[in-house]
């Protein structure tokens, strides 16, 4: 469906179902340069199980207009505006990678709007190497290569997709190649400069779960655990064998974990 947020047209994937009044809502926030398609499987699941799914393409991403935002807090404000435009007072907020920081900032700054929180492939800090940042700034394909290959475990780079017949690396490369110029860079910049993460973590008041990839080299488990330690009562699930691209590498394990928190 389409909504207008901050004067811009926003595409929201709903799991291919109409929203039903008074159902609980769940928001899925994608990572830098990506779009709602990374959430298709869980979106379809939750929409069939009594939830109103809100999986937006962030500004400048996918089918949404506007330009990529370069601050996590600005994106969190945008999520609240999105909830307002959707007529949703409170929702489960789920985010991956950069989206996890947006989810954290949303829960930390607007605790009354969050029923539960799930952070996938998350860490504080989420710093970005100079090499990646410079490549992204110059819109070089090398940035897409780095994000794609660093995002998968060695085994996943060879394949063995749980989703039969699809080549994980190829699909991820193509998705990032669709990003408009500058969008990946603005997202990475937002991750790199996000300094209030631990403060926001301490301000979270809802049930929280972190889903971390055992072999994630972009947001290593060790930093994810440090973040979890700052969120009162949070639970952590480690997905064995998976790297950063959790929803692609281990879609069913991720869904099982999401079901416990959403």
């Amino acid at each position: 469906m389409r909504l207008t947020v901050d004067g811009q047209s926003v595409f929201v994937y709903t799991g291919n179902s109409e929203h039903i009044h008074n159902q609980s809502a769940v928001v899925f926030i994608h990572g830098a340069g990506l779009d709602h398609t990374v959430w298709v499987l869980p979106s379809r699941y939750f929409s069939r199980h009594g939830f109103n799914v809100i999986a937006p393409d962030l500004p400048g991403h996918g089918r949404s207009s506007g330009v990529g935002l370069n601050k996590i807090e600005t994106m969190a404000d945008w999520i609240i505006a999105l909830l307002d435009a959707s007529g949703v007072e409170q929702a489960s907020i789920v985010g991956h990678s950069m989206g996890s920081l947006v989810a954290l900032a949303t829960a930390g700054r607007y605790p009354d709007r969050c029923r539960s929180l799930c952070l996938l492939g998350s860490s504080i800090p989420m710093s970005v190497t100079d090499e990646l940042m410079n490549s992204a700034r110059n819109n070089e394909h090398a940035a897409i290569d780095m994000l794609t290959y660093w995002g998968y475990s060695t085994q996943a780079q060879l394949g063995g997709n749980e989703n039969p017949g699809l080549w994980m690396v190829g699909g991820t490369l193509r998705l990032w190649e669709r990003a408009r110029p500058g969008v990946i860079h603005s997202g990475l910049q937002a991750c790199h400069t996000y300094e209030a993460g631990m403060d926001h973590a301490r301000a979270v008041r809802c049930r929280t779960q972190l889903i971390l990839g055992e072999r994630d080299i972009m947001t290593p488990v060790r930093y994810g655990r440090e973040l979890a330690a700052k969120i009162e009562g949070s639970q952590t699930t480690i997905v064995k064998g998976s790297a950063h691209s959790l929803m692609t590498e281990r879609p069913d394990e991720v869904l099982d974990a999401l079901i416990t928190i959403v």
Binding site: Q155, G160, N161, P164, V169, G170, G171
Partner: protein
């Protein structure tokens, strides 16, 4: 972190798509010879059916052995996904039937495998799909043949049997400028010799019976989606952009992004047309693909020696192979096929049809049969076999003379092949 190191082509031919079996530790890809799969619960079943969870339902649609093969070819081609089919013909049909229905049109090279020509010329018109055939060397002809109802541009990386080299970059530019995808049959070149997606193609299919397998013991096809074509910007493909009532109003481009085409091909075409590959066949093809780089290298090396021998032989009227400087596509081949032009080529024996027949009847090592891409060397007379349904005009248009002989050079010792060819040529000359 240093720059990512990616796996090379040879490594992917051995490993892509497979993780050692979690239960048994089996290193080789097991043959999952099963029709169906047990669900954990009714909700688990519903979740798989509704594309909420991954998993297999029925081997007509997906199978774990086939999935390894599908991922492997997608990895080698640089695509997003693939579907293993009962034959190369089934792969070609699956692509066409996914993209279009009645009142649609294809622009195709006129230099095609005879079976493909039959499908386009005689069979698909019964279902309202027409084809305009054009000279594969005339890129303007592709452009001029495009109509409002055109849905696909199609050619072979190397034409059959004339070995016209398809100018994929130029023709894909023409296709894309008209909101159309370019599909190529890459059977003769395999991903080892040609990477059509890098050159601009959008969809690839293979007869995996040929070089990909190499052993000539199975029939199979592979359809590969590059994930590159912008289906939404084109207004010609509501099958991918509009809700599909056959799957709860699924919108393929909206939900699967770059994998929209291959997902619809599986969810509709594999489900409804049912031309699936046997898992045992997939296993056999995988065994062949493990040696693809080694075999293709020797196929090309042997072919170059044989071409050189024939080109110098007094009983040979002409040899058509893009490696030769006098081939019309020599320069294009050097650009698009730097590793070689494959192992299938044609030549003419002096003396026409009867001389050609004497040649074939006298050879002993070359196998006279209707196939290419085997590890064993093969020979055939297209005018009387693979292309026999084409009339004289169509044969001439496809560059097939009565005396044309097609060879598929295998992996034997080249000296033995040359001796056999010499025996055949002596017989042809004697009359």
């Amino acid at each position: 972190m240093s720059k990512p190191k990616t796996f090379g082509f040879d490594t992917l031919t051995l490993h892509a798509g497979q993780q050692p079996d979690a239960t048994t530790g089996a290193r080789a890809t097991p043959i999952y010879q099963t029709a169906s799969y047990v669900f954990k619960s009714t909700d688990h079943a519903a979740s798989i059916f509704n594309t909420e969870r991954t998993g297999h339902v029925y081997s007509r649609i997906t199978n774990p052995t086939n999935a390894v093969l599908e991922e492997r070819i997608a990895a080698l081609e640089g695509g997003v996904g693939a579907i293993a089919t009962a034959s190369g013909q089934a792969a070609c049909h699956l692509a066409i039937a996914t993209l279009m229905g009645a009142n649609s049109h294809i622009v195709a090279s006129r230099s095609l495998y005879g079976g493909t020509h039959n499908l386009l010329q005689y069979t698909l018109p019964r279902f309202g799909i027409d084809t305009t055939f054009v000279d594969p060397r005339d890129s303007d002809a592709f452009r001029d043949a495009i109509r409002d109802d055109t849905r696909l541009i199609f050619g072979e990386t190397l034409g059959n049997p004339g070995l016209e080299v398809l100018d994929i970059p130029t023709i894909s530019d023409i296709a894309h400028a008209h909101g159309l995808p370019l599909m190529v049959d890459s059977t003769f070149t395999t991903p080892y010799l040609c990477q059509p997606f890098e050159l601009g193609a959008d969809i690839i299919f293979h007869s995996a019976t040929k070089f990909l397998s190499g052993h000539g013991i199975v029939i199979g096809g592979l359809l590969v989606d590059g994930g590159l074509f912008d289906w939404e910007s084109s207004t010609r493909f509501p099958v991918l952009t509009e809700p599909y009532s056959g799957f709860h109003n699924m919108r393929f481009t909206e939900e699967f992004g770059p994998a929209a085409f291959i997902t619809r091909a599986r969810k509709e075409g594999a489900r409804d047309f049912g031309a699936c590959m046997s898992p045992t066949t997939a296993f056999h093809i995988l065994q062949g693909m493990e040696t693809l780089p080694l075999r293709m290298e020797k196929h090309v090396a042997n072919t170059r020696k044989i071409v050189s021998f024939l080109n110098d032989h007094e009983a040979v009227e002409w040899v058509s192979y893009p490696d030769l400087p006098d081939h019309p596509d020599h320069a294009l081949a050097a650009r698009l096929l730097p590793r070689g032009c494959g192992a299938v080529f044609s030549f003419g024996v002096r003396g026409g049809r009867s001389a050609g027949q004497r040649f074939i009847d006298k050879t002993e090592l070359l196998s006279h049969l209707a196939n290419v891409g085997d590890a064993k060397s093969l020979v055939i007379h297209p005018a009387s076999t693979t292309h026999h349904r084409m009339d004289d005009a169509a044969l001439e248009a496809a560059g097939i003379s009565e005396g044309l002989i097609r060879l598929s050079i295998g992996l034997e010792d080249s000296d033995d092949l040359i001796e056999d060819l010499n025996r055949g040529l002596r017989a042809a000359v004697k009359g």
